[in-house]
Amino acid sequence: MSVAVWSWTPEVWWTLFGHFLALSLMSIGGAITLVPDMHRRLVQDGALLSDADFTGAIALAQAAPGPNVLFVALMGWYAGGMGGALVSMVGIMLPSTTLALAVSRWVSVRRHWLGVRAFQAGMTPVTVGLLLATGWHLMPPLGGQPRAWGLAVAVALLVWQTRVRLIWLVLAGAALGALGIV
């Protein structure tokens, strides 16, 4: 786990950059869907980082604030320090960002086309279902951790029905967790 923060390892950086650049355009539904592929490339074939660092990066990025894609920066960090984190992030973001911007412009100019409207109308309910699946996967197990499960359900109801600041819920969750209550 000890990272040489300012290590100068350009060859590792190039490898990381290449891997994430190649993965970027496959990351439909978020970079998290590429975890099995990343594991094969970085841990099994490349031996760039250890198994523990790999899973640790994902867990930390899930809990820490910010988009979950930052786990890519953490993997880069464990493999190649600060430079590794930066090149990995640029690699994973550059192609997908360029494409997303181009497509969204193309779409917004043609917002009133029948095909575009049909596409958005058709995708919306499916998106809602898929998001629900994401939440479902993150739910603590009812059997193993009933109190954590109850907390998640209570939070869902509060978010749905009230306008309580989300950050308070997060702090409450952290406090309850640290005290060993959930």
């Binding site: 000890s2 970027s24 439909i28 869907t33 867990a59 930390l60 809990a63 820490a64 604030p65 910010g66 988009p67 979950n68 930052l70 960090w77 992030m89 973001m93 997908s96 960002t97 494409l99 997303a100 911007l101 969204s104 917004s108 009133h112 049909a118 596409f119 109308a121 058709g122 995708m123 919306t124 309910p125 499916v126 809602v128 279902g129 629900l132 699946a133 939440g135 996967h137 739910m139 954590a148 499960w149 907390l151 998640a152 359900v153 939070v155 869902a156 109801l157 509060l158 978010v159 306008r163 989300l166 950050i167 819920l169 997060v170 409450a172 969750g173 406090a175 967790g177 640290a178 959930v182």
Partner: protein, 192 residues
């Protein structure tokens, strides 16, 4: 532009365990930059494109207000500060690894945050489902599609791409036929 950057930085920093819940709260309810239907529509596009969907969403919102510079500003706001914070956190944790008590506390706190994050996403989805009542396909069909997408992923472990291609493609085709039928039966007057 600065407001855009600050807005997305604040939003990202509040997003523990995923940013979608906070993004909906901030963009729709507090700042009112988007209404709920626009938010879901953008999210639908963001979901189909490669790349993290909240990042794609921030690009689209930024682009809408200030063009490509706005898009980059929003994306930078979304990523820079959280990335710095996370690397600091990773460094701090590797230092704290020497203290077993601190580790137990941190692990407990992370577990609590994870439970809250799951609840936040589910609560947000329930909110996002509200505009589907006025959806072109009708409320029951939307509920059915959403439930089917959920079941395919959770129960049958379909990869997300397959669900998007098959179920999403089917829904798009049906919507297309429906919209064309309506446009043909009532030529004047744009529908929402």
């Amino acid at each position: 532009m600065r407001e855009l950057f600050v807005a997305f930085t604040l939003l990202a920093l509040q997003g523990f365990g995923g940013v979608i819940a906070v993004a909906q709260r901030e963009l729709c309810e507090r700042r009112r930059w988007l209404d709920a239907r626009e938010f879901v529509d953008l999210l639908a596009s963001a979901q189909v494109l490669p790349g993290p969907n909240v990042c794609n969403l921030s690009l689209m919102v930024g682009d809408r207000f200030f063009g490509w510079r706005g898009a980059l500003t929003a994306l930078a706001g979304m990523i820079l500060a959280p990335m710095a914070l996370m690397l600091a956190l990773a460094w701090g944790l590797s230092e704290a690894a020497a203290l077993p008590q601190a580790q137990g506390l941190i692990r407990g706190a992370l577990g609590g945050i994870a439970a809250v994050a799951a609840g936040q996403i589910i609560g947000t989805v329930l909110k996002l489902a509200a505009p589907l009542r006025e959806h072109e396909l009708g409320w029951p069909a939307c509920l059915g599609l959403a439930a089917l997408a959920l079941t395919l992923v959770v129960h049958w472990h379909w990869p997300l791409v397959h669900v998007l291609l098959s179920l999403g493609g089917l829904a798009c085709c049906v919507s297309y036929a429906l919209l064309r039928h309506r446009a043909a039966s009532s030529p004047p007057g744009p529908q929402a």
